[in-house]
């Protein structure tokens, strides 16, 4: 132990409060947090690099797997960028269907969050109830797309499945059930004493700090920043839909809870409008296999905040560069600020309040000239060859046939 009164508590990479590996190191004096640091990078999967090795259509399914919860968000953000480069005019019906799936996804993500938040403050009953009701929306998503989480709904130039009138009726029925349940949760969240005690005044992020640290999504909106890509830079069908941007002025975890539950109500409103106003017509246009050279940036309001994709093409069937900035990266900076002068007991809920998704946000860091004798920079080609040789020697699997470009580099 340390000589001073301060105790350093590792909070992760493996910890019951965290669903993904990420590290927080907090310094405690008694129950009070005096310092905290965030360390990400435990879950880097190299998806951006892998995208450069695959065609646009393959990338679409890979990008969808950036996040388990906001899979449609990432896929739509990517596909919007590619369509912009290719100059494709997406049919209206496809845009409406994209918005519909996007809103259903928001419902499932916010209900999930409400349960997680309940669990973090030791209120498991809320977790069990919300996750039960989340099944309703999961079933609807499975009905519409065939899958519960990775929907595979998007394709370049439109969507892959149409929505029949019978399905639309099912969606409306489910929305009615969910709306009733959500009203009950709004009542719980705003009236239950222990919940209010645990949430209000916790993890305060002032409007100034929210703007300075670049918070996005519900985290920013709960600090009074009316920032919503759906309104600021309408994509898909949002330009034609009527909805409110929910904000709260309390700037704390309680505000973030209220914003999310009220956003659920907005989502129901949006879905009803989409079903009512959905235009007839084709659901996709034909897209070329090779995308002309160019670059594009695409923004999407994921349940957790603004999702940002950058795609650069070089005229071939594979992208030259794909860049993903998941909303958690924008929000994670604010966590240290929120934890200032709080208690250890507030740590889980403050982290959970930004609705973190660390594997989406994870990236590798290149440190040049770190000073160590062993440090060296390895070019991509050499690393690729090394990995193939590693598998050949240790596992007896030969991957060399997969990529002829590097074949000449192998020692055979």
């Amino acid at each position: 132990m340390h000589n001073s009164q301060d105790v350093k508590v590792p909070f992760g990479p493996q910890h019951p409060a965290l669903k993904e590996p990420e590290g927080f190191l907090i310094t405690l004096r008694g129950e009070k947090i005096t310092a905290s640091s965030v360390k990400i990078g435990y879950n880097h999967r190299g998806i951006e690099k892998a995208c450069e090795e695959r065609t646009y259509i393959q990338d679409l399914y890979l990008i969808e797997r950036v996040c388990g919860i906001c899979s449609h968000s990432h896929a739509t953000a990517f596909v919007q960028a590619v369509e912009e480069i290719a100059g494709l005019e997406v049919p209206k019906r496809a845009l409406y269907i994209r918005s519909l799936i996007g809103e259903l996804e928001r419902i499932h993500s916010h209900l999930l969050w409400l349960g997680v938040a309940g669990h973090e403050i030791g209120f498991d009953t809320l977790l069990m109830y919300t996750w039960r009701d989340r099944e309703v929306v999961m079933d609807i998503l499975a009905l519409l797309t065939g899958n519960r989480v990775n929907y595979g709904m998007n394709t370049i130039g439109g969507v892959r499945r149409d929505i029949t009138p019978a399905q639309a009726k099912e969606v409306l029925k489910a929305v009615d059930i969910l709306e009733e349940r959500t009203k009950y949760y709004i009542k719980i969240a705003t009236q239950e004493t222990t919940i209010i005690e645990r949430l209000s005044g916790v993890g305060v992020l002032s409007k100034k700090d929210a703007l300075k640290l670049g918070a996005v999504g519900p985290t920013a909106r709960a600090s009074g920043v009316a920032r919503d890509v759906r309104k600021d830079d309408p994509y898909a069908a949002y330009g034609e839909l009527d909805f409110k941007v929910i904000t709260a002025e309390t700037c704390d975890v309680y505000g973030r809870t209220v914003v999310r539950v009220l956003e659920l109500m907005e989502a129901y409103k949006i879905i009803r409008q989409i079903i009512k106003n959905m235009p007839e017509g084709p659901i996709a246009v034909r897209a070329p296999r090779k995308i002309p050279a160019g670059e594009a940036v695409s923004r999407y309001e994921a349940p957790r905040g603004e999702d940002f994709h950058y795609v650069r093409s070089n005229g071939t069937e594979k992208p030259d560069r794909v860049k993903v900035r998941a909303p958690t990266l924008a929000n994670v900076q604010a966590v240290s600020k929120m934890l200032e002068d709080r208690y250890l007991a507030d740590m889980p809920i403050v982290i959970a309040a930004i609705d973190p998704c660390f594997s989406c946000t994870d990236r590798s860091i290149i440190i040049k000239n770190s000073g160590s004798k062993n440090s060296k920079t390895i070019p991509w080609e050499v690393l690729h060859i090394q990995s193939i040789e590693w598998y050949k020697e240790r596992r007896g699997i030969d991957f060399s046939g997969l990529n002829r470009k590097y074949a000449k580099g192998f020692k055979i």
Partner: protein, 313 residues
Amino acid sequence: MIQQFFAILVFPGVAFLFVFSLAAEFIDRKLCARLQNRLGPPWFQPLADFIKLLGKENIVPCDADVRIFKFMPVMALAASCASFLYIPLWQAKAPHSFDGDVIVVLYLLTIPTLTYFLGGWYSRSVYSMIGAIRSLTQLFAYEVPLFMSILASAMLANSWNLSEIAQFYLQHPGYWVFNFIGFCIALISLLGKLEKTPFDIPEAETEIVAGSFTEYSGKLLAFFRLSLDVEMVVGASLLAAVFFPFGIGLQPVTGFILYIAKVLAIVAMISVLRTLLARLRLDQMITLCWKYFAPIAFLQVVINLILKGVFLK
């Protein structure tokens, strides 16, 4: 002699207590699960958990004090079992009752919390140490309201003997109604003693893993968990004897059934409370106990003193 051994070891002693505590844990878990819209465990789950843990390897951390680490679970179990002997269950007189046993029972019920502290502290892991400090801090908060509410009832009965307290309320049936405030305070304090939501701060899973028990495994963990269950039954029996003494001193079978019903009703109240509430923070818990529960418990003392002065002259 043999009869005495039977009374201590089998019925209504240790063996009965173990079976009843596992049953009470099942009721608690099942009820909680049903209230949360879950299926819940089958009836033998607590026993199965216990047996499974007994078969697992004991891991003692390198830095831990081995003797204290291994001794504390046994101590916790022994203390909570011992206090059971002084509580009148359905007999008119508890097997080992003597004057002043209410103090001894309260004292023995404090020991398990101290063992959680010592066991956690000597585990030498950060989570265990924070959990240990938390359980001790919590002890100072809930212990005073609990003592005051139980002693207030003893004051009215003019006795420090649990069996005599029960007899007093049986003979003066109108009076136990007045102890209702005391019962509420004692029930809530019992939640703190059993480290159940909203007072499960010392083992808050999402903050400090499992608190004092983080480093415990195998048989030692099994004994700790059993001691928590036993504590629940003993605590509920204590509340039942002090606040709801009806049924004590009846014929064995009716009295026994009434006793089981009373204890299970108190366990059910605990499950309902822990389903309904979120976990409080340590500072909120201490404020709650000292600012509200202690004065309310004191109010109970005052009420009982007035009752005693006016009616029981």
